[in-house]
């Protein structure tokens, strides 16, 4: 065999290969390490060749999994060897053995730099590669300018430049400041004009890293990417060497499409058209062929194209084409394609409006849940989890439950968690939810975490209708001969609380219940016994009149456990024994548990946490985040501000969120005693009992409750708090539901965007999504009940101003627990006005009535459509509209000082499009827009703002349009946006007789007068 020219190395490798076992291998390795070590010690006599040989041996040993803690210096020293072979080994082995924090690396930094700026291009390549692989911050700071020069140097050959590009990528990751965005954005775009496909491949990776951090700066690269893609797709100027099974560099195609996914949209219509042509060609033109490699390569491109189409959210035509393709893929025989079909379908769920098409494939996806390949099953599970909603939850959860019994251990925990979450999120009725959880515990008890059974207890406690049902169900399970310990816990708890509801049924008397529970006691561990003891105490309490026989039996158990070695058990036994002798007083002390406060499901949080983070923000993740910010997720609520609630589902007594003082006192009562003897204190018995009953589980309880209270309060500091509370009508003092977040801020945000949250409090979240077309608007209100109990007496009334015709579809009176209902709302704009429609919303939660009046973001600027006009169109119009009432002019003082740029942005955000360059005076600003209403139809509006650079607090506004009311309203609207905060409440009314005008962007709440008079404040608000 032709050996590598290093005989010693070959012999060593042979020896290792011939070792009959691991022990022998270790001995041989140790011998060799000893040998190398002694050689390195007498370094003087070593030639570069010998050093090279030993360094390779070290790398080989390292690769076998043995630690090599010496000889690093020798590897690094080879970097400065004069000859290529030694230098090469030095660089490669250094990159393999050392990491970026290694001290020796610092010693080499000068040599490395000399190689990079030197004339020898093979040395340049070696140095760039090493720095690209392990260079740290220090390298970034000292080498980045040289590396950048190499990338764009015209005298440098592609083989150096491609490595320089990836080297810069490493340095950029170590210290983003080394790439100066302003200067580099243009160079990056130039770099993409490159013909050499090797350089392009590397540059594209660099671009991906840069745009993923800052896509705005790299706009100019976007059309270049599309050009590259066109070149490859048309196979123009692609050398044979870069064609892989007939496909022009599939890797560069994939990377380019990946880069494009970091740009939010493509605005230029020509670029967009070109790109879609390419994508269409890929989607249509990818056929299945015999050759595996060709097939894989073309499908690699196809899947990336699918991802790009999903991202660009193209015309719906192409989207359904994508779903159709994916539907085909998930049913093919080829396992790779099946896997990728499922994976990409899950990604597609992020795209709005395709869920229904995906649901058509549900049967096929469920089949994949039984695939022999675990990779495919995982994808199927993820997809099912993602596509689950109220309509298909029953089917999907039941499939998962069925699969659970046969699934491998590796998947059971995930399966149970997902089934539990879906059951909770989408339960059509709560009894089904209870069934699912109990089945889950029955089938996979070992994999059901405590959170899951805590949660079901919480639901049952909070829903009276559910209690007898749950009691019957758990008793059925208890009748089985062998059940999981978690089932014992949950059944004992539920029967202790609600077993008495069954007392009329045959076989469900206190004695029978006690017997079937007590039968389980010998089989359970010490963590369950305390729960059983509590159950016994409760059964005893519910047995009226007392049954002396049962009493003696239970007392005997208590006294037996009084001497138990486990402190928790001992304490409970002693306390219950003493308490249960008090007779009637027991009734108070052991009364039923109060309802639990509503809080985020800890399961959902757990599932979120379980998602692993990769170091770099991936395109998909970014996209998901973008989507999430628009999506209205009812079940996943976190406090609007600051720290999220503590994840543990802590069972602490907070009778209702509205009762602040009670929380504090309960806390004081509970903490020092750690949930035990204060039980005798009558004013607040239940709080402590709860702690007692589930003492070991409630550790995190009290701080959670306090913290959540603080969150709500601290979110409403200063005038925000005043404003938020001012929304609540004064005549209903018990209406103490606190909104989460700032209502006014939410409204103003929605004036500028079309979806988001309008209102949120601990019980409900109201989201809104709007579409505007000319003078029509379609809004959808999403009413999400965050609780585990229904919200009743839900009422929504629209108080429309006279210029808007609003039709609200029927709002259901009851919102089921954790459900979201959608109420569409049709809006027609009859004529120009700045008045605002108000939604009067109320609901009942327990005994509390909550009522809020919310402004709807159907405001004037929603009926504007941006139009940009040229000078030839502008001036004739401007001149033809001469003077009042069609053209109005006003000097406005007390303007918020804004730079012209900022003002232009403000205008653009209201869809008044600024036309730069029309006005010869650089201090002026000209804008245009089209206004739509039924009476005016489409009406062009022209705006001119003249500013005074010496005094930015005043300016002159001139508005022109073909309708006098519109001109006036638009002028007032613009003034409201410009005028600074305090002076506005006195703004003149639009037309007498109508409702008060819309408020300006900033609320006048800081004014003292407004503060002292809630009525005035309310009027100002509405």
């Amino acid at each position: 065999m032709a050996l590598s020219g290093m005989r010693g190395l070959s012999v060593f490798i042979s020896d290792i290969r011939n070792c009959p076992n691991k022990e022998q291998e270790r001995l041989r390795v140790d011998k060799e390490l000893g040998n190398v070590r002694t050689r390195f010690k007498n370094e003087k006599g070593l030639t570069h060749y010998e050093k090279k040989k030993y360094v390779w041996k070290m790398l080989y040993i390292y690769m076998l999994g043995y630690d090599v803690d010496f000889g690093h210096m020798e590897a690094v020293s080879l970097i400065s060897a004069p000859k290529y072979p030694e230098k090469q080994v030095g660089y490669i082995v250094t990159a393999c053995l050392l990491n970026e924090n290694h001290d020796f690396l610092r010693l080499a930094i000068n040599t490395v730099r000399n190689d990079i700026i030197g004339r020898n291009e093979t040395f340049q390549c070696l140095a760039l590669t090493m720095v690209g692989n392990i260079g740290g911050r220090e390298f970034a700071e000292s080498l980045a300018p040289d590396v950048q020069k190499l990338i764009i140097s015209s005298s440098c050959r592609p083989l150096v430049r491609k490595k320089a590009a990836l080297c810069l990528l490493r340095l950029y990751r170590k210290n983003p400041d080394v790439v100066n965005v302003d200067g580099w954005a243009d160079r990056m775009a130039q770099l993409l004009d490159e013909r050499d496909l090797g350089v392009l491949t590397s540059s594209m990776s660099l671009l991906v890293a840069l745009v993923s951090n800052n896509h705005e700066a790299y706009w100019s690269s976007l059309p270049k990417c599309v050009k590259i893609l066109e070149r490859l797709a048309r196979n123009q100027d692609v050398p044979q060497e870069y064609t892989y099974y007939g496909i022009p560099s599939p890797w560069l195609q994939v990377k380019t499409m990946r880069a494009l996914q970091y740009f939010p949209t493509i605005e230029d219509p020509n670029t967009r058209r070109s790109l879609f042509e390419v994508l269409q060609r890929i989607l249509m033109g990818t056929d299945v062929v015999k050759n595996v490699n060709k097939n894989n390569a073309s499908h690699a491109v196809l899947f990336e194209a699918l991802a790009l189409v999903m991202h660009l959210d193209a015309e719906k035509e192409m989207m359904s084409q994508c779903v159709a393709l994916l539907g085909k893929f998930i049913a093919v025989r080829e396992p790779n394609i099946r896997y990728l079909g499922l994976e990409n379908m899950t990604r597609m769920l992020m795209v709005t409006d395709v869920q229904d098409i995906i649901k058509r494939h549900q049967a096929q996806i469920i089949t994949s849940l039984k695939d022999p390949d675990i990779s495919i099953r995982r994808r199927a599970l993820d997809l099912l989890y993602g596509m689950c909603d109220v309509s298909n939850a029953k089917d999907i959860v039941e499939e998962i439950l069925q699969y659970l019994s046969t699934a491998e251990f590796a998947m059971r925990e995930e399966l149970s968690l997902k089934a539990a979450i879906l059951a909770e999120k989408f339960a059509p009725d709560l009894s089904w939810y209870v069934d699912v959880i109990l089945q889950l515990i029955d089938k996979a008890g070992d994999f059901v975490s405590d959170d899951i059974w805590f949660r079901v207890v919480q639901f049952v406690t909070n829903n009276e209708d559910l209690q007898p049902y749950a009691a019957v169900k758990v008793k059925e399970y208890l009748d089985k001969p062998a059940i999981h310990e978690t089932m014992v816990k949950v059944s004992a708890y539920i029967l202790g609380e609600f077993g008495h509801l069954l007392s009329r049924r045959p076989g469900c008397g206190p004695k029978e219940l006690f017997n079937i529970i007590h039968d389980k006691l010998p089989t359970v561990s010490t963590s369950t016994i305390p729960i059983l003891l509590s159950t016994y105490a409760k059964i005893l309490m519910h047995t009226q009149p007392p049954d002396p026989e049962l009493q003696n039996q239970i007392w005997a158990i208590f006294s037996k456990y009084e001497s138990c070695i486990d402190v928790e058990i001992q304490q409970r036994a002693a306390e219950y024994f003493a308490l249960s002798r008090k007779g009637a007083a027991l009734m108070d002390i052991l009364a039923e548990m109060p309802k639990f406060p509503e809080r985020q499901s800890s399961l959902i949080k757990k599932a979120e946490d379980a998602e692993v983070d990769t170091a770099e923000q991936s395109a998909i993740k970014l996209r998901t985040q973008q989507q999430m910010s628009n999506a209205l997720v009812v079940t996943d609520q976190r406090p609007a501000n600051g720290t999220p609630l503590v994840g543990q589902l802590s069972l602490v007594k907070v009778p209702s969120m509205t009762n602040n003082t009670d929380v504090n006192s309960a806390d004081q009562g509970l903490t020092p005693e750690n949930g035990a003897l204060t039980t005798v204190d009558p004013p607040q018995p239940s709080a402590d009992l709860l702690g007692d009953l589930l003492g070991p589980l409630a550790i995190e309880g009290p701080p959670t409750a306090i913290q959540s209270q603080q969150n709500i309060v601290s979110g409403l500091e200063g005038d925000h708090a005043v404003e938020a509370t001012a929304i609540v009508p004064v005549d209903e003092p018990q209406n103490s539901v606190q909104p989460i977040g700032n209502i006014a801020e939410r409204f103003h945000a929605l004036c500028l965007k079309d979806s988001g949250v309008l209102y949120e409090d601990p019980h409900i979240q109201i989201g809104i999504k709007a579409e505007w077309r000319m003078y029509h608007g379609r809004l959808v209100l999403f009413l999400g009940n965050k609780n585990t109990t229904p919200l009743v007496s839900v009422q929504a009334i629209i108080l429309p101003p006279s210029h808007l015709k609003i039709e609200l579809s029927l709002v259901p009176e009851t919102i089921p627990p954790r459900a979201q209902v959608q109420c569409p709302l049709e809006v027609v704009n009859l004529r120009p006005s700045r008045d605002v429609a108000v939604l009067d919303f109320s609901y009942k939660f327990g005994n509390n009535v909550a009522n809020v009046k919310l402004r709807l973001p159907a405001v004037l600027n929603k009926f504007l459509q941006p139009i940009s006009v040229s000078a030839e169109e502008f001036f004739p119009q401007w001149r033809s509209l001469s003077g009042p009432p069609l053209k109005l002019q006003e000097v406005v003082r007390g303007v918020k000082p804004l730079l012209l740029m900022e003002m232009a942005n403000l205008f653009n955000s209201f869809r008044l499009i600024v036309c730069p360059g029309l006005d010869p005076n650089p201090n002026n600003l000209v804008a245009s827009t089209t206004f739509f209403s039924e009476s005016t139809q489409a009406m062009l509006c022209l705006v001119r703002i003249e500013t005074d650079p010496a005094d930015r607090t005043q300016l002159r506004v001139t508005i022109a349009s073909g309708d006098p009311t519109l001109t006036f309203e638009l002028k007032e609207f613009i003034k409201e946006q410009l005028v600074s905060i305090p002076s506005v409440p006195t703004a003149p009314r639009a037309s007498p007789g109508q409702a008060p005008p819309a408020p300006p962007v900033a609320q006048p709440t800081s004014s003292a007068a407004a503060l002292s008079d809630p009525g005035a404040l309310l009027a100002g608000l509405l």
Binding site: I13, Y60, P85, I92, E100, W251, R258, P372
Partner: protein
């Protein structure tokens, strides 16, 4: 960052080449390689070429007695990596002529040189076989 590591392992589970593009301690490498090898080598031909492990996705391909395992980020294009493995094998084939496990074993340095030309910092640098092999051929000529 794309590619996290490239492993070549024979069907007895012995590592023949390991190249990492992120730093792991030797203990971490040993553990990771053990887990991955156990997972992947147990799979059948009818199963797909992708295995999810910790926060990696392993894309793998088997050539006779040798497994090529590439650890990538979860959102990497799997098929592109699968064919990149094949490109690597074809490149080795062109150099060694009918490459086999022993070639890689005894010419560890050559295998490293080729990888060095193909992947850098977890990103693909070059996909043209002649460009990849040019420096090696130059060296062979010189020696």
């Amino acid at each position: 960052m794309g590619i996290r590591f490239i492993l070549m392992v024979n069907k007895q589970g012995q590592t023949r080449l390991a190249q990492y593009y992120e730093y792991l301690t030797i203990e971490e490498r040993r553990a990771l390689e053990g887990e991955i090898v156990r997972k992947c080598l147990a799979r059948t031909e009818q199963q797909c070429s992708f295995v999810e492990h910790r926060n990696y996705k392993i894309v793998y391909r088997r050539y006779a007695s040798l497994f090529f395992l590439v650890g990538v980020d979860n959102d990497e294009n799997e098929l592109a990596i699968l064919e990149f493995i094949h490109l690597l094998v074809e490149t080795m084939d062109r150099h060694f002529g009918n490459v086999c496990e022993l070639d890689i074993m005894f010419h560890l340095e050559k295998a490293h040189f080729m990888l060095e030309e193909m992947v850098m910092n977890g990103c693909i640098v070059e996909t043209s076989k002649s460009n990849i092999l040019a420096p090696i051929q130059l060296m062979d000529k010189a020696s």
